[in-house]
Subunit: 678 residues, 2 copies
């Protein structure tokens, strides 16, 4: 010991340093310097959140001879903690370790309140942990007959004293439990506090489990992630078909159901809430988590899902002017939407952007953060309605485009949902026109050994959304499909795979089975209409932003994440772009919900953002119709797609001079067959 | 018309004046001067709240020749309003009346937002109308596809624009109705706003009905008043026995029930909530009011009732240190306490003061406002626990004193609740010792003609709380009862109304019926114990405040309002005071609840007050025991009661020199019999 002398302490990784008296606890020293060290128990040696490493290698430069002498020996409290929960060698509880000499301390990321969590996005976003719910262990004064304040008021005073949290309110259910918890915990309790404003739960003694859920309510699927609110990790996930499907496959048919059936909105609301509760039970089961410890949730969905989940009749969203009930973020009690979590858990709904652009898009923006980048990013969430976001840090635009359900395998003769047996990958030999393919449930190509064995159970039953994209693109590359989307009957004579059907032709993708899988001319048309709508929407946004090219394209949503981006571009679903910069980013809406769950300021950020986003209503834009017509061709009637052509042997584009469709089509077809045969 | 010239307008009663252009609407002129003129419809000529009188008598001094020329003629709007709802002659709607020349206007109190309402208290308090709920009629912009804000956001913008209300939040149930209401009302709606913060209800078009309830939940009775939130008037009242009585007559037996029966607190909570809902249905029926228009409520009760109504287990209030769950005011959703009003109505619970001094006492303070007075006021709420407040504007003290149920007629042989047939007034002839009396249900004295006729149905069945007070005081004045509370057996020989019972005596109050009504020695003792507890509590507070005398005494509660204050003082229930200044003030707790209902700032005032009130816990004060013993005598062993003696021929008090109780009692008894016979 060095008496009254002050000792220098350096905290890594921040590098913050200061001089402290002998005997100062490390936690106290760190906090006084503003070092980010976690603690739920407030320095009582219970929670273990304040663990630090002693950086021995650095001692020499401070002239310290031995690490042991720099700090007080392992305390009884630390020994107990080690026995109970384990303490890595070299680790100390900073609350029970006192400074004796100069020392260098490392605060591992797991001990930082605001530690960073990586969320898997196109650029792997780093999220600072800052959940809306925090737990605080607190020691409360016992009541005194001579100073008869209420138990709640003494709890409040303790939270102010020990945690600096003033003016707290309290949920009634917590108030109802308060007195028992205080006495059961011998005047020590843990409380959950929402946004530093309101106590939403209480436990006797020390408690350190708090969970949250991030829920993406799609019209087709619902995905739910259970997150640990201190570590930030996803501890369990579950997904299901949206059970509302029984009321209509797509959004508009569900809105029609509501319009036609009095009380139909309530049925749809109950159905989706029930579905979420099933997922909630599932993740709780998987992770062995008590639903009462789920204290927070974030919900995202398109406007109709958003409204139905809230119990708001979506009729207004079924027709112009597509008025949202609200485009603000909402915080509700879990019980208000019948969620089987802690009834006093708070559920946050990210704001919708417009009548067709929902909270799911807001979540996608949060996840992919185009507003933080210099590059112009186009984000495409493909679904029955494609939601589009375009822009960069200067400006963001959003729109939706009515693609219809073709991308999801509907309206396609052999189309099916993406389940086992569905074709998802296709390659066509340009000479023989024979297709190889892969089906969901097997990693083998259809011409590889063992394929039949592996697919015996499922069979090859149809073609899913991503499969139809590849099939059409490969048909185009193999010369089976013309630039105008005509299945070319000239091969019918030489190739048995091209069959005449009425006055058109069909291509037989899988010939040798009881139910051969064919691509009909009507299938091609359906996909053309869908992709043209998507492209036209993107084009309209590019116009509005004043750009002719985008720097990046991100595909998201269930479909977007399965699609081969190359084929999407060959078909002309998305504008031309360096193929390296076209990425499928998975469930970006779910990621965004998780970000808003783990970081409360992201919610405020989202609310600011939606106000800044410029909405473009495709339906009323005069240019949309022309853009749509132009985008029917593969990849496009006018746009040159230079990036795509650089890497793919695409047929030359048709000349732009002629506006006579028939003549143009004829000329192009001629040129095309030349390039295929030449 | 006088062209561009400005005209002077004077608004009475405020006297505010200003100069205005020709054509300025009176409402606009008044508001610009800060004149308090009401409006729900925002100047659209619908609500009729902005009516004003034209003060014709004042015209001359402004040189105006005719009232007709000073203002625009009666408008079409006013004519329609007159047909629809009636407009008194000379009255104008200030929103549709424009200034043409100098004019004097009177704003009648019914047209003032902050009009004053008189609440019947000891001093008839004037309350400024300022309810927590206000209605606002508003015209909302229609949605526009090019600027896709939500309906709620456009409603918010309109409320900011038209009413200056910014940053409003909204209840989910309102959000669920919002879109239908806007369209049904052709983009005009009325909203209810709670504390200028949150929209809690919405109606299509114009709506001007908003009600509130003030509820006083006593352990014996529950009283509910339905108030019009714009006029401030009580439109219906209802009361009932507290149905919890089946679980125990007094508070402590109900707490015992909870302690002995798991889940007993829930049963008690349900029971009291059900009782309130019955009263609510009753008042709605009486006043033909839709429960959905009840948008606000204020609840008061003693701590145990307060906790049970909130669903908080009252066990902690059953024993030292009598810790309250909370001593703050609480605002809840009506649905949180199962109230059958509008489910989004807000219910405010006034704060409790201490474990024995409840929100009812807070309400009593609000009603009687001792904290606004120079005079030292003692407020006594008599019940199983007497709650006491003492002080003035400098300081307020509160305590409770365990009087037991004797004042309510319990523990008294012939005692009964205050219902038909119960004796409530008593006079005893000092010579014959014969009593005259009145019973509840008749205005006649028992010796008046027709009494038997009038009471034939009810009979004379017992004696209620106020009756027993008068009986004992009269017995004392008639020499039947000694200063020490002994029924004097020396009269037994000469008077048949004094009967020996074991080794004591009884006085026969009503001799000539099948079940004669007697006052036994044990009855006297029970009342002595109760009144001594009450007096000792008051004395302790006076000690603590440093006063030997109080300026005023107010008796409140069901019992307090029926009692003859003179007899209360003769018995020594309350400290000596100028009899003119002793008043029974009825249900002051209910009044206080109504004040908090009509004036939201009174709630804040109450929350400030309870923090200032100094709590005195009688049970742990060493002096209490001695004060209690001293207060057993009639009116008191030591205190001289000079005010009382000035107006009543009371026997001289015993000398204070001797502290030998036996000797003292003997001497006093001797002196007393002298004064009675002399």
């Amino acid at each position: 010991m060095s008496g009254d002398q002050k000792h220098q302490v350096v905290f890594l990784p921040s590098g913050k340093r200061g001089y402290f008296d002998s005997g100062t606890p490390l936690l106290e020293a760190g906090r006084s310097l503003g070092v980010d060290i976690d603690s739920v128990c407030g320095g009582r040696g219970i929670c273990g959140r304040c663990q630090v490493d002693i950086v021995e290698g650095q001692f020499d430069k401070f002239g310290i001879k031995s690490a042991a002498s720099a700090l007080t020996p392992i305390s009884e409290n630390e020994k107990r903690f080690d026995q109970r929960r384990g303490l890595k060698p070299g680790r100390r509880l900073s609350c029970h370790t006192r400074i004796l000499e100069d020392v260098v301390i490392d605060v591992p990321s797991t001990s930082q309140v605001h530690r960073q969590v990586i969320v898997k996005t196109a650029d792997d976003r780093k999220i600072e942990m800052d959940p809306a719910i925090r737990l605080h262990y607190v020691s409360v004064e016992e009541p005194d007959m001579h100073n008869p304040t209420g138990d709640f008021e003494r709890l409040s005073a303790a939270l102010k004293d020990q945690w600096g949290l003033g003016d707290l309110e309290c949920d009634l259910r917590t108030l109802q439990k308060l007195q028992k918890c205080l006495r059961e915990g011998d005047w020590k309790v843990t409380v959950a506090i929402h946004r530093e404003l309101r106590i939403t739960e209480i436990w006797p003694g020390f408690h350190d489990k708090a969970y949250g859920i991030a829920v993406d309510v799609g019209s087709t699927t619902i995905a739910l992630h259970l997150c640990d609110l201190s570590a930030g990790a996803v501890v369990a996930s579950a997904g299901m078909m949206n059970p509302q499907i029984r009321y209509g496959e797509d959004l508009m048919s569900r809105v029609s159901y509501v319009m036609m059936n009095p009380g139909g909105d309530e049925a749809l609301t109950q159905t989706v809430r029930q579905g979420i509760n099933e997922l909630l039970a599932d993740v709780c089961d998987q992770a062995d988590v008590n639903p009462d410890t789920i204290l927070n949730g974030v919900m995202v969905g398109n406007p109709i899902m958003h409204h139905l989940l809230l119990g708001i009749d979506p009729t207004e969203l079924g027709g112009a002017p597509f008025a949202l009930s609200t485009n603000s973020g909402l915080t509700l009690w879990a019980s208000e939407i019948d969620l089987n979590s802690n009834p006093d858990g708070r559920v946050y709904f990210l704001p919708c952007i417009a009548g067709h652009v929902g909270a799911d898009t807001t979540a996608v923006i949060l996840s992919e953060a185009p507003h933080l980048q210099e590059k112009i990013t186009l984000i495409v969430d493909v679904g029955t309605n494609a939601e589009l976001v375009l822009g960069n840090r200067d400006k963001l635009l959003a729109a939706s485009s009515p693609t219809g359900p073709a991308f999801e395998g509907a309206q396609i003769a052999c189309g099916q949902r993406a389940t086992a047996g569905a074709i998802e990958r296709v390659r066509i030999d340009p000479v023989t026109k024979i297709a190889r393919f892969k089906v969901i449930g097997s990693d083998l190509w259809s011409d590889e050994e063992g394929f039949e064995e592996e697919t015996r159970l499922s069979g090859v039953t149809g073609i899913c959304g991503s499969g139809i994209i590849e099939a059409l693109a490969e048909m185009y590359l193999a010369g089976i499909l013309t630039e105008d989307g005509i299945i070319d009957g000239r091969h019918a004579g030489t190739c048995s795979l091209i069959e005449p059907v009425d006055r058109t032709f069909a291509y037989v993708l899988v010939p040798n089975q009881q139910n051969p899988i064919r691509i009909y001319q009507t299938d091609v048309r359906a996909i053309q209409l869908a992709k043209a709508a998507l492209y036209a929407g993107a084009k309209l946004l590019m116009d509005r932003l004043g750009v002719t090219e985008v720097d990046r394209v991100l595909l998201t949503g269930a479909f977007g994440s399965h699609i081969d981006t190359r084929y999407a571009m060959i078909l002309g679903m998305i504008p031309d772009c360096d193929l390296e910069e076209v990425k499928a980013v998975g469930n970006a809406a779910g990621n965004g919900a998780r970000i808003a769950l783990l970081n409360q300021t992201a919610r405020d950020e989202a609310e600011q953002l939606v106000r800044r986003v410029e909405k473009v209503e495709t339906a009323v834009e005069p240019a949309f119709q022309q853009y749509f017509v132009d985008a029917m061709a593969l990849p496009h009637k006018r746009d040159p797609f230079p990036h795509l052509r650089k890497v793919m042997a695409l047929p030359e584009p048709a000349p732009k001079a002629s506006d006579d469709p028939a003549g143009g089509r004829r000329r192009r077809r001629n040129r095309r067959s030349q390039s295929l045969t030449g």
